[in-house]
Subunit: 472 residues, 2 copies
């Protein structure tokens, strides 16, 4: 498949328009970034409303039927545009993370700027540059290029922009339920994920699921002095250490019975995409001070990270933890545990299995309390050969001159919500980089990501339209 077969004349025109009007696109991104739409802080509620209004007006100006839809929290923007191809739902979020610690920013986080590095590369700096204002704007600007050149969009497009993604998406699931008929499409598109590196685009086809919670093991009714009670009195820290130590075997495998049921092997197509990366597992570990992969024996580092489920102890505490020493046997000990899930592993069943693992090891005179971190999420795995995914792969290959990585990432709850409530799969294409400082000071987005991101969506829309027409 060559560039010329993919880029029909209309796609070429839209690409040329996007290229020629990049400065205008940037100015619209800056205008959005100047609105401090921090969703966690009630002081910025008006700014969130302003960002929603700005986007709604802009989409109306582009020929969408757009509206700001109130929720119990920050509003949604919903916009519809007719088109000949398949019906796609694009999801993004206009809210941003808080800016603390403000001292570490090189400049005002809400006064975006383009910085030029010594090597001439340019980067957009400011809160939301990458997550998700820069990324969602690549899609809107691609729509603009199509409209400006072809006068239409190649697909029927619905856009949903959320204002609470950084504060728990409290209103999202009720909103999807209440507006399911309006939002249902053939599939969803999201631009909130990573590229592999500055040269290699990425499509996220797998998201590990998640479940987890907190466990408190209680023994004596009060803290005891180990000089008096050491020996006969059960020590909850010892008990918890034993329970958690036995959660993995010497080969890095989780020991919960049936834990690996429903975890599939990586498909040859996806494996080929990973092999093409020339991934340096040694360098990956070295960068964080490690050398020996700690995951399941028999799987390489990419499989351990992307395809295999895991159990992680995220926190542990109990007894005396201050300076010096205190010979205490504490009344209780605590840990926070999370499980990353793959394939069809059921989050509730995995957590129940963990609770059972603990209870089986609990002496009859001790007690345990569990606190889950809320509903878990199942893993998401997309078929690498589906129509929309194939269209997106072809478009990205054409734009970037190399095959897109079919990668995997952490949980993105909205993808689960879209699947469970709207019954749709999601194609995740993003242009962020691991060093974008999202959620941190000096957030940035490569100008190359922005420019080629717009061009990538121009091509994807074109390819989807063609594929859709072909399929229709």
């Amino acid at each position: 498949m060559t560039d010329s077969t993919l880029a029909a004349p209309t796609t070429d025109s839209a690409l040329a328009y996007a290229e020629a009007h990049l400065d205008d696109s940037l100015e619209r991104l800056f205008a959005l970034m100047r609105v401090p739409s921090v969703s966690t802080d009630p002081a910025y509620a008006e700014a969130c409303a302003k960002a929603a209004a700005l986007l709604s007006e802009e989409l109306n100006g582009l020929g969408f039927q757009a509206r700001v839809a109130a929720t119990p929290g920050h509003p949604m923007v919903v916009a519809h545009h007719e088109g000949p191809g398949p019906h796609v739902l694009f999801y993004g979020h206009y809210d941003v993370q808080p800016v603390d610690p403000i001292d570490l920013w090189r400049r005002d986080p809400f006064d975006p700027v383009i910085e030029t590095r010594a090597d001439g590369s340019k980067t957009i700096v400011g809160r939301g540059a990458s997550d998700d204002k820069g990324q969602l704007r690549t899609f809107i600007e691609a729509c603009r290029a199509w409209k400006a050149t072809a006068g239409h969009l190649p697909c029927r497009v619905t856009i949903l922009l959320e204002g609470e993604e950084e504060s728990g998406s409290t209103s999202l699931e009720p909103f999807l339920h209440d507006n399911a008929e309006e939002l249902k499409a053939d599939f969803a598109l999201i631009c909130d994920t990573l590229m592999w590196d500055t040269e290699t685009p990425g499509i996220t086809i797998g998201l590990r699921g998640m479940t987890g919670g907190q466990v408190t093991v209680r023994g004596p009714s009060r803290d005891l002095h180990s000089g008096l009670y050491g020996g006969p009195a059960r020590n909850p820290i010892q008990l918890l250490a034993t329970m958690l130590g036995e959660l993995k075997d010497g080969e890095g495998r989780v020991t919960l019975p049936g834990f690996y049921d429903g975890v599939p092997a990586v498909s040859p197509d996806v494996r080929a995409s990973w092999d093409a990366l020339g991934f340096d597992a040694g360098a990956f570990l070295r960068e964080v001070g490690l050398r020996i992969p700690a995951g399941e024996a028999g799987y390489d580092v990419l499989e351990q990270s992307w395809a295999r489920p895991t159990a992680e102890i995220n926190g542990i505490w109990g007894g005396y933890t201050g300076e010096g020493f205190k010979t205490v046997i504490p009344a209780e000990a605590h840990a926070k545990i999370s499980f990353r899930l793959a394939g069809t592993q059921d989050p509730d069943a995995v957590w129940a299995s963990f609770e059972n693992h603990v209870r089986e090891r609990l002496p009859a005179d001790c007690s345990v309390e569990f606190l889950t971190r809320g509903p878990g999420s199942q893993a998401i795995t997309l078929a690498s050969d589906s129509g929309p995914l194939s269209a997106a792969r072809g478009a990205l290959d054409a734009e970037w001159g190399r095959s897109a990585l079919l990668g995997c990432g952490g949980s993105i709850p909205v993808v689960n919500s879209i699947r469970s409530i709207l019954g749709m799969d999601t194609v995740m294409v993003g242009f962020a980089l691991p060093d974008d400082n999202i959620h941190s000071p000096n957030e940035k987005y490569e100008l190359k990501s922005f420019a080629k991101g717009i061009r990538s969506w121009v091509r994807i829309l074109g390819a989807l339209g063609t594929a859709g027409e072909g399929a229709a």
Copy 2:
């Protein structure tokens, strides 16, 4: 052995004197308790000096050659009195614990009072009532009774009173080294331990030794997000949990190789004394909310507490321990561990064996740091049939009308110092009770403990004198 055979006429006279002058003894205890000799707080340095001076003057008045001996910290009181029998070194401490939290005291901690309970029993309330002003005074008042009635002491007595016991005894070992010739005696006496209950006196013949420290296990060079690194990145909490979980087997035994070497069986004589207690192991555990002894299988609760060594995790921490959840793989995890030792277990060897246990389980790309809690102490076990111990047992049996428990307790570092520096064993006789609130608000000492404590020492001094004369 009946009361009349033990109590020679001189002992009888001293007992009668002690009984008749109990109110004066109490007034002298109160005078000492009114001096706020809190050793940890530099604000009370003058009070410590005043307590030392008060005791030195009093002992001079009793016919001792007494002096206040300066140290880099609070001073010692050293006093000598000639006598016909063996030479005994009595050790006590005049310093007390801080009084925080002051709100929980029923009255001024340094304004002692006698409180009468509904059942008519009386108790002395105030800081130091039990630990150790009340206890050390039982010995001094017994010496007074002997002097007042017989005009001499039955033994040669050296008294050493420390002012830093509650603040780490920093000056004690150097002082023992520097004054070893002056302080060496045939054996030592200490009154700083417990009775079994209000009816049953106790001689502490075993002290478990102690070693311990802190372990820090390090994995990644920084905290990692478990969504990105979960699987291939080593989790130090998981590692530490495994190491600590494997420190004990399913039977409550410590798994360190050779750990139990040199741990003796309990002698039949001591075992008989324990059996005579009618100890209710179920009630002992129930009182702290437990039911199932957690120590080594095959040993009963008293053996687990008193005679068997143990390993206890006194604290553990790592990762995210706040409200809610954070999917972190932390760079490090920590624990504080202590070992109670028995028999001839070597504290340094046990700690080295623990370090080895950790190192054997440490992946080559992780690191570990150990911090010991300072020099460990070996266990102390006294032969139950030694001359001084037999004399003390006989005297206590006579005073209390029942056999003294030959009990075991936690580490008392001064006993190790006296053994290692002065080459002497220590007979530990005390009249404190487990509910005396030592180190806590509303510290108390039973009036019965004080009165019969003085009488007990009158008898012990008499018995030692007789035994010494017989042996000489």
